[in-house]
Amino acid sequence: MTLAQYQLAEQLEQALGNPHQVESLMSFQRTAELDEAEQFPHDEIAWLYSWGLQNYYIPTECGGKFTSFEEFVAFVRVLARRDLNISIAFTTLFWSFLTWMAGSDEQKQTLSQLMSEDHTAMCLAYSEREHGSDLVGGGVTATKVAGGYLLNGEKWPINRATISGVTYVLARTDPDGGNRGLSLFMVEKQYLEPSQYYNLPKIKTHGIRAADMSGIGFSDCFIPDRMLLGPEGHGLELGLKGFQITRALCAAFSQGAADTTMRTTLNFAVNRQLYGKTVIDMPHARRTLTNAFVDMLICDCVNIGAARGFHVATDQFSVWSAVDKYFVPVTLEQVMKETSVVLGSRFYMRDEHDSGVFQKALRDSAIISMFDGSSVVNLHALILQRRQLAKARLRIRQKPDQLAALKVRLAQSFSLDQSLPPFEPNRLELFSRGADDVMQGLESTLADLEAWQGSGQSMSSQPVNQAVLSQVIELGKVILEEINAQDALITQSAFEHGHDQSFESFELAKQYCHLHAAIACILMWMHNRNHEDMQGFFAEGEWLVLSLHRLLSRFRRSLTPPPSTYYENVAQELLQLHQADKMFSIVPFQLAQRSRAPAIAAPCLVT
């Protein structure tokens, strides 16, 4: 893999070994045992620290090795494909972005050292039993006293509430302060008086059963002033901006899980003999898995585009992040459901076929569309911005200089070989002012593709398959018609504020996500088809035709069916990636293969 941002993921893969092998560190068998025993994965987490993975959660300017979210989502997938519980438990470290965003130099230094040297973990304590998604309604208070604050109240349900050294607590500092009455604290538990706080018992859950799902309570618990993060009263703003970061990253958990459910199903389908055939040769099974693979590629385009876009279109993440967090987990939940049809009865068994990893991944991943802002919460965030998105799309058409700048941003967000500027969390905005480069770049994207038709391929050095190109353009025009119709509907209809949004408006927001995803696929193809790592299957673009066809079929039943050879070629790619142990992805990096030698027992520090 020449794309440097995937090399860390490949190294982590090799270090962890093939999870089908019992002796590998996070083997499917081992993680199944932890799940059955509901036992926190202390050893596995400790191994990740000694390997140095925590440093990739710390920006370079704070002493760490984090450089891009594209690299980040790739290594999270490597963890998530083995075990969602471990990857979620370790990745609570991504809450540190609250400190990288709002902390003082001293707080950043403290946290960097805690993570990197003391192997401290953290949790996010926002939710309360009586106030789930309603952050402003929260009842935990922080009352000002000399030199600090007194915390009171309980946070629940909180992942890693008990087994963590740092707790980010959102608490009310001003009873009459409204939206400016909440503050965020980076509480280092080692400095608390043990009698002033307590942990709530472990909550038994459907999936990630080995997690430390618990809660934390405070009774007149003194915290010094230095634990306040950002200005007093800015807790809600920081909380909402922090979610923009973590929501988009959550999609990578689902991607890792979907990779595993696909892989274990193929392990079955290419070997299982029935009626004198293998299952994978039965047309229904083959097409089911091909469609699932296409959906996984679509999710890749959305999530890799978003991971890169963080660095480029940072101020648009109130939109991009909501699309990503809604679209990817929900689509992949469906993918897993459909894949299970091919695995048959074994999808339901806890100790058969690859240590029952399918049912575990299914249970574990069910939480992803729910936590860290549920699907409805994300759609709601989109609905509130929907009218402005429509207006801005109309306006930008008349502003050629803005359109030109947008095109440059899109090229940077989607060309995997372009370097990315450092992520600047201070550029996050609570709303995008109607901007969504992906959606608003559709017309110019289509114009570029049209220019490629015939001989005029100025932008592309590799010849384009003209049949593919004309289908992409035709389907691209369907996207345009659909978004135009939706924008017209949105601008004409009465706008509801707040939480009185109709059921229909949620359906429209889902459609927006599907259209955004379709354009992300076109952009990903267009900007990378010449890259040396992306030749052959990716560059050919048949997968793109199938992707657009799948996404747009929910809008139009009458679309011309794609050629059946496209399905077969995509199926071949799927089988090849399976055989070669490569990630089911538009960037199919190498996974750990089965080896005779035992997986590395001692951790080796990445330098």
Partner: protein
């Protein structure tokens, strides 16, 4: 349309000032959005009292920006949580053209 020089002083009482224009725009928006009778809205009261929640308040800033063709802090209505405070602050701090 008139470029604002000195917001608060000098203009005759009968003529709407930028502050009063912003106030009445906000009253109308709030009445519309929350289905209230505009005469029942008191510009001195916190917006949350009328049921405007945190994200609504941010969205309303977006509408204000569109109306004034001006970029404002998205948290403006969190920091200046009544119509009176928000209008006064905007005229004081921004190049409001009305």
């Amino acid at each position: 349309m008139q470029q604002l020089q000195n917001p608060s002083a000098s203009e005759p009482l009968t003529q709407p000032t930028p502050v009063s224009k912003i106030q009445s725009w906000l009253v109308d928006q709030l009445a519309d959005v929350l289905s209230l009778d505009p005469t029942t809205i008191d510009v001195k009261q916190p917006l949350t009292r009328y049921g405007l929640d945190s994200i609504d308040a941010v969205t309303l800033v977006g509408d204000l920006e569109d109306w004034l063709d001006l970029e404002l802090p998205s948290t403006l209505l969190w920091d200046y949580p009544s119509i009176e405070k928000a209008a006064a602050h905007m005229v004081e701090e921004f190049d409001v053209t009305l």
